[in-house]
């Protein structure tokens, strides 16, 4: 299915450059894995703490390849009819009633049955839509760890064969291999079967250098010195034993706030006054305030 000219990327370095051009700063692991996902035609399972840019990665890849993003948000209780496809039974009923009322009495049942199980009566849901798309798409299955173990099995056929079997219609095969990203916050162990079909990518918190670059890219008009200081303070906070350490998206919010406030550097008072943007528990804020200002309680 894939020949040389169909590959989207030439090498990890090119992936990295392309991602940077859409304001996403990848680590080399991210770039290599995205590159391999394309070459091996495999989905990528992206795992990591909340707010480290897992979903954003899929969006950015869609943006740089000029593809449409199809998103399936997972939740408990997600089932086949929400993820794959559903027969539009109201429309089917109407079709049957219409057949009974008119002159078409002669039309026999077999023909009618053939008719109502046609693609016209099929409601496509995200997974099937991604398979049937003729334009380039990126499929994002978000927070896959929220569905039950049994529902995971629904996705296995798509993930390994890029096809969906509909009993009444037969098998729908993909016209092209879409790039697929699954994200997980690791609230439960995913099944071996799912993991085996995917490449695995762990997106953790970035190091100071990358975080500084991310802040500079995402927050226009920030000074290099401020970005550096922000990255350092966030690292210090992540080193503390907190209930929830600041994520990258919170760092960006914080940086934006400081820019709006017109700060060029962060004094202790500034840090303490705006700490609630980074930390979401009062006990964490108290602890961090104490440690940053040296007034440990």
């Amino acid at each position: 299915m894939t020949s040389n000219d169909e590959w989207r990327f030439e090498g990890p370095d090119q992936v990295a450059t392309a991602l940077r051009s859409v304001d996403y700063l990848p680590s080399h692991e991210i770039a290599s894995t995205v590159f391999l996902a394309d070459r091996l035609a495999k989905p990528v399972l992206v795992e990591g703490p909340a707010g480290t840019g897992k979903t954003q990665l899929a969006k950015s890849v869609a943006e740089l390849t000029g593809a449409r993003l199809i998103r399936l948000q997972c939740y408990e209780g997600l089932d086949e009819s929400k993820a794959l496809y559903e027969w539009n039974y109201r429309k089917q009923l109407l079709r049957i009633q219409a057949g009974q009322g008119g002159d078409q009495q002669s039309q026999d049942w077999a023909e009618l049955e053939e008719d109502i199980f046609d693609e016209d009566f099929l409601l496509t849901r995200p997974l099937l839509e991604a398979i049937r798309a003729t334009d380039p798409v990126v499929l994002l299955i978000d927070e896959v760890d929220r569905v039950e173990l049994e529902t995971e099995a629904l996705m296995l056929e798509i993930l390994s064969e890029y096809q969906v079997s509909i009993p009444e219609l037969g098998t729908v095969t993909a016209n092209q291999v879409p790039m697929v990203f699954l994200t997980s916050n690791n609230t439960r162990e995913l099944s071996e079967a799912l993991k085996r079909r995917c490449l695995f990518l762990h997106v953790g918190y970035p190091d100071v250098e990358r975080e500084r670059l991310i802040v500079e890219t995402r927050v226009p008009g920030i000074s290099a010195a401020l970005a550096e200081q922000i990255a350092q303070i966030v690292r210090t906070l992540r080193g503390m034993d907190l209930k929830k350490v600041p994520s990258v998206s919170e760092t960006i919010d914080w940086a934006k706030t400081l820019v709006i406030l017109g700060k060029d550097s962060i004094s202790e008072e500034d840090a303490v006054a705006t700490l609630h943007i980074l930390l979401k528990y009062q006990s964490d804020i108290d602890k961090a305030t104490g440690e940053l200002t040296g007034t440990r309680r």
Binding site: S32, F200, D241
Partner: protein, 479 residues
Amino acid sequence: MLDILNSFIVELRQAGLPISMTEHIDAAAAMSHVDMTQRSQFKDALRATLVKSEDHAAAFDIAFEVYFADRSIEGIDDLDDALETDAQGDTAPEGESGLRGPGNAKGTGGGGGMSAEELKDLLEQAIRANDSELRAQVAAAAVSRFAGMEPGRPVGGTYYLYRTLRNLELDELLERLVEEQRATGPMTSLQERLARDELGARIEGMKEAIEAEIRRRLVEDRGAEALARSVRKPLPEDIDVMHATRDEINTLERALRPLSRKLAVRLTRKRRHGRRGPLDFRQTVRRSLSTGGVPIDPRYRHPRPAKPEIVVIADISGSVASFARFTLHLVYAISSQFSKVRSFVFVDGIDEVTHYFEESDDPAEAVHRINTEANVVWIDGHSDYGHAFKAFDERWGDEINSRTSVLILGDARNNYHASEAWVIADLQARARHVYWLNPEPSSYWGSGDSIVGEYARHCDRVVEVRTLRQLEQFVGELA
């Protein structure tokens, strides 16, 4: 190449990573797409295809460093040959890249010409400049100078690392550099903290460089397979809690939080998605409106099974303290799954510690307070199960009823005191269940002063819980 990939995967499996045939094939397929001359690309490709859990990443990194040690680019292809031949001096290219400072980092012999003072100066320079190349060179020189490596010794390198670090006195250097910054001008404590963390991170980088250097030389000396065996570390969930080193305890602490969160999520779901309850008439009728009043899609109520009450009685004497800590932490992390949790700790006296957990919303903090504040010593601070149980029965025995599950944690090493096993028999008669969790391997039970056998007769189950994996499994079954 496929051969060496094969033996690499065998090593990963030995380390406990579940690697299937499919993943092996993927890794081999990935090889044909990446630029093998780029070490980091090569590593990323192997990691993406072989490692499917972040917990396994550390084991992978170690194995990778051993099998594909940083050497010449072509070296990957003829690594097989390199494994056969004895290490003959230096084959690594990085020594040849030259050293800007005095001395020479080439191989095992190099660097010896540099005095300890010169080396320390260079080290300081590397930390100040935060220059990774210089750092690698300093690491090489430091290992040559201080580690005193002896060829052929079957060790994992921890000792060499310790020797090198002791001589470099990195902690002192950190203090000195912080002091120096403080001298340049007044600093707020925020600035000081940031400076300290920054330098700390650089020094940590230095330690890693030294560790990598030692490992590289060990591979040259003894070959990858032999070394991989000695540096292999158990996965976090397989660490024996009772005999964990301090590093391992830290790993466990980190593993515990996500573990308890996962367990809580799983149990909530289990509770919710159990059997169907009785028909929910109202919802069924509501649903039937879209099908013209025909109830096609019946709805059911969810059953709400009663939650058990838990009483934890934990031995927190030295030998089993960390085990009790982890268990209490885990039980409280999922306390929403129980209607009530009460906890008691003992050594030879016993004390209730439930309120520590109620006052603090962080189990780790509560556990810490227990160790410092609970009143558990009666006479001499040596475990006395018999006395502790008797005291429990006198003070709280009445509160055990048919809804209560009792968990007793301990190795039942009673220092030859009386067992007073009748208390347990009495508890069992009143409680719903009595479980005993023993952190010792079952083959040791009943040896020496262990009297777990005497208590076991009165328990519903005695479970061997040596690792987090076993602990998680037990607690999962309980709820």
